[in-house]
């Protein structure tokens, strides 16, 4: 089995540090930010979720975990995702975007 590029990069990251990065938040908090960021980027960039999830190294299991940990936020975000997907052929994000940003804004 080969090591994926992302795995290699992840290992490399652990050895690096930004001299000014010394304030920490919990893993749970980081996970929340990561999923919200991924959805936000997906809606803003109008790109498919699958491609964005790859960028964030997110899996379906992660989304299931997110739903389990943050059911209210997940519900709002997935509703927005559904709306966007519904309009996907015409890419009418002008409608979906405000909905999504309201959801994100309520989540944070």
């Amino acid at each position: 089995m080969t090591t994926s590029v992302l795995d290699t990069r992840s290992g490399h990251s652990d050895r690096l540090h930004d001299p000014l990065y010394d304030m920490e938040v919990s893993e749970e908090q980081l996970f929340f930010y990561k999923v919200v960021a991924a959805f936000s980027l997906a809606f803003r960039s109008k790109r498919p979720l699958a491609r964005v999830f790859k960028l964030y190294n997110l899996t379906q299991q992660d989304i299931a975990r997110f739903e389990e940990l943050f059911p209210e936020a997940a519900k709002k975000m997935l509703e927005a995702a559904f709306i966007a997907a519904f309009f996907m052929p015409t890419c009418d994000y002008n409608f979906a975007k405000p909905v999504f940003f309201i959801c994100v804004s309520h989540s944070l």
Binding site: V5, P19, D22, S40, A73
Partner: protein, 254 residues
């Protein structure tokens, strides 16, 4: 209109603070632009931080700068070494407001290697941050550069000041060299273009979202960009405070 806390210049001078400008001018600057900013409290708290971390500030100076801002400078040099890299530096500039917006520049913060990754940043930032709400400060400006900050600032919620600054982060050759795949690089470019197709080029770009990608450190570390944190932006402020106050969670109620 709230008045600035009275500055006890004599007492502060006895504690080693050097005022490089006319004291009346300093008082006038604070009273005019930043009533509510308690300068004495900041200085007192930073002294407490030094005591807690077992060092003594070698320089504490305050003065009005060329652009009319008030500069507050703290520096500690470890005299046991002659290494320049072993100095601790914190410099902030309260800027004269423009268009009714009040800004503080986190002009410089440098932590020597021996003091890095120990949580000192939080203690150095908090004494100032506690004053920002009182002083009705709208924006924190900062600069990511060679001595750090590219990754940290993005992670803490800062935005790139405009499109040009956000673009500075995307050095395709460097990203390919460190193993980021072409599709990911392309996606970041597309994201940037999409955002600025519907926003003015001067709009801040929310870099914290890129700071969550799986290669965020490689993407952001060592990059040079002007950063801004809008304290009226709920998301940016919440993220910053979640780092600053270790006990504060920014999670939805579930």
């Amino acid at each position: 209109m709230p008045q600035s806390a009275i500055i006890q210049f004599d007492a502060l001078e006895q504690q080693g603070v050097f005022f490089s400008s006319d004291k009346q001018a300093i008082t006038s600057f604070l009273t005019t632009y930043y009533p509510g900013f308690d300068l004495s409290a900041v200085l007192y708290e930073l002294d407490k931080v030094a005591k807690m971390w077992d060092f003594e500030w070698g320089q504490k100076s305050i003065g009005l700068g060329g652009l009319g801002g008030l500069m507050i400078h703290h520096q500690y040099d470890n005299l046991d070494t002659s290494d320049e890299a072993d100095c601790l530096l914190v410099r902030r500039i309260l800027k004269p407001p423009t268009a009714d917006k009040k800004r503080i520049s986190h002009e410089e913060m440098y932590l020597p290697p021996s003091m890095q990754q120990k949580g000192l940043s939080r203690h150095l930032i908090l004494p100032y941050y506690r004053q920002y709400a009182n002083a009705k400060i709208d924006f924190i400006d900062a600069q990511a550069g060679a001595t750090g900050g590219g990754y940290a600032l993005a992670r803490y919620g800062f935005a790139a000041a405009n499109k040009k600054e956000a673009t500075n982060v995307l050095d395709d050759e460097r990203l390919r060299r460190i193993g980021v795949d072409d599709d990911s690089i392309e996606l970041l470019h597309e994201d940037l273009e999409e955002f600025y197709s519907s926003n003015p080029l001067e709009s801040p770009f929310l870099m914290w979202e890129w700071a969550q990608t799986s290669f965020a450190k490689e993407l952001l570390m060592g990059t040079h960009w002007k950063a801004v944190l809008d304290l009226q932006n709920k998301a940016q402020k919440s993220i910053f405070e979640s780092y600053l106050y270790s006990s504060r969670r920014v999670l939805p109620s579930s």
